[in-house]
């Protein structure tokens, strides 16, 4: 049992190498957080959740790049499972743009949306590079994983980690989790599993993810932005405003020149001098 003290950074270490795709995390999350869920989607695979959104705060991704009819062993290119979740980024895009202050960093160093402060502007949805946040159709505010903020306050670990039968989802203080992850990575590499890699355990992705992963392929294979593509919305502030300011200066100068006084006669004959136009735009 992990002791939970405010002021310390907590998170998840999700080890996809031992995920069996049972979705117990999804169920436990919905039960604890009272999420009604969406209609299931039945497509070409085991993934009937679809994506993380306002109803799905855990989502077991199935990366199944296997031919429908496998003639011989080894035809499949990938058979990966990953319990995805809000990353609780150190440099969080959602928190950066939120105009209301609804998005905060809690005493457990997690990223939390205050549902009674959020007004549903959806700027955080436009910002989150992982597509984590959705607008809830019941409460009409943005929702995502809270890292079970209420459970943490009560000294309990998050529901998904509690329910995970294979310890693919481990909860704890981030520094301890990082040590565990690095040990696990060494073990796997020692077993000859060279493709195993950590994602978000160091500060290369958004300054470090409080919920980080051990992946069995490149981040791109799991539809995660790699370190080069993990960029914050605010990168576009300076150049966006600069281009606008330059346009403004050129437009004002051009406007002053174009609108300057010229010697021109009255444009056309006035048909009836007595008829007065109503003035004042009313």
């Amino acid at each position: 049992m992990v002791e939970i003290t405010p002021g310390r950074a907590y998170g998840f270490f999700t080890d996809t190498s031992v995920c069996i795709g049972c979705k117990a995390c999804e169920v436990a999350c919905k039960e604890w957080n009272q999420l009604p869920g969406n209609e299931p989607v039945f497509g070409d695979g085991f993934d009937n959740t679809g994506s993380l959104d306002s109803q799905n705060w855990r989502h077991v991704k199935f990366i199944d790049n296997v031919a429908d009819e496998t003639m011989q062993a080894g035809d499949g290119k990938a058979w990966l499972m990953m319990s995805d979740v809000c990353k609780h980024c150190k440099h969080a895009s959602c928190l950066e743009v939120c105009p209301t202050g609804a998005l905060i960093r809690t005493e457990f160093d997690t990223v939390y949306i205050q549902p009674d402060v959020c007004n549903g502007c959806r700027d955080c949805i436009a910002a989150c590079p992982y597509g984590v946040i959705g607008l809830d159709e019941h409460s009409n505010v943005a929702q995502k994983c809270t890292l079970c903020y209420d459970r943490l306050q009560g000294g309990m670990e998050p529901a998904c980690a509690k329910a995970c039968p294979t310890q693919s989802i481990q909860f704890g203080p981030v520094d301890e989790l990082r040590a565990k992850a690095s040990q696990r990575l060494d073990d796997l590499h020692g077993q000859g599993i060279a493709q195993a890699q950590l994602y978000g355990a160091d500060d290369s992705v958004y300054g470090g993810l409080n919920a980080f992963f051990l992946l069995m392929d490149k981040p791109e294979a799991y539809h995660l932005p790699n370190a080069a593509n993990a960029v914050l919305p605010s990168r576009n502030n300076a150049r966006g405003y600069l281009a606008t300011a330059v346009t403004a200066v050129l437009a004002v100068i051009g406007g002053l020149v174009a609108l300057r006084r010229r010697r021109e006669p009255v444009r056309e004959p006035v048909p009836e001098p007595v008829r007065k136009q109503p003035e004042g735009g009313e």
Binding site: D123, A126, P219, E220, H223, G255, V257, P265, R267, G281
Partner: protein, 307 residues
Amino acid sequence: MVLAEAEHFVRAPNWTWYILFYFFLAGLSGGSYVLATLLRLRGDSAAEAVARLGYYVAFPTMLVCPILLTLDLGQPLRFWHMLVNTTPGQLVPIFKYWSPMSVGAWALVAFGLFVTVSFLDALRRDRRGIEGAGLLAKLWSIAGAVVGLFIAGYTGVLLAVSNQPVWSDTWALGGLFLASGLSGSAALLGWLARHRRAAQPAAGAFVRAERVFLLLELVLIVAFVLTLVPAGTLGRAFGFPWILLWALALLCVLPWLRSRERTRSAVAADGTVAAPARVVVAPGLILTTLALISVLAIRAAVIFSAQ
């Protein structure tokens, strides 16, 4: 399936029709205020007459903006949360200079003040038959015009400060929206000026202004295209059906590039006819409407193609 491009795994915010028309009206309101101020600074009575038209246009278009934004919220009654942090124990004004939506909310409040005062002032001067504008009115208009430039342009920066495909791949949207907002305003004011006798002598100048803004707009569209190429999102912004909107935007302003110089004889009030002279004639309702459609089409293409 393994994706080749790793750049965008973001969800669309579903900013649609309310936001489109907000961007449109913000461009027109801000643009009209700016053009009105440029003319007010010119100082002659015809220019001042058009300037007031500009303030009359800026007011109602501005008034609709917060309504559209409020309706777009998931919780419309919490519109004021944009300005006040309601986190328990705080209840203080919130302003994040690095979040364009936060800056924009405050800018809209400031612009609302400038436009309302300028509108009422223009109304008062017209009622009392005051021809000019005083120093105070000019200074107020200049300050308001700076905010107006911001209102017309920041919406593009707001889109860019995100992780959405297309929007966040370019720095050109703020300038593009500003230039197109000004071009729409110039077309609208030019047409309105035809219908206000005192303003008629200044109407033709808007055609020249329109061309300046269209040129800027064209340059920025090129910049927009060039910035999307390395990001690999050019096909998304200009693919079918969005290419139709871009084509519409371009076709609608083409007639404006034709020469509008006409030889006209001026008739003075006493009936004497002056020698014929070359005059630029402000276009009629159809061309003005086309220019406004172009403003709308550009914003629609940008907003909808990314989501």
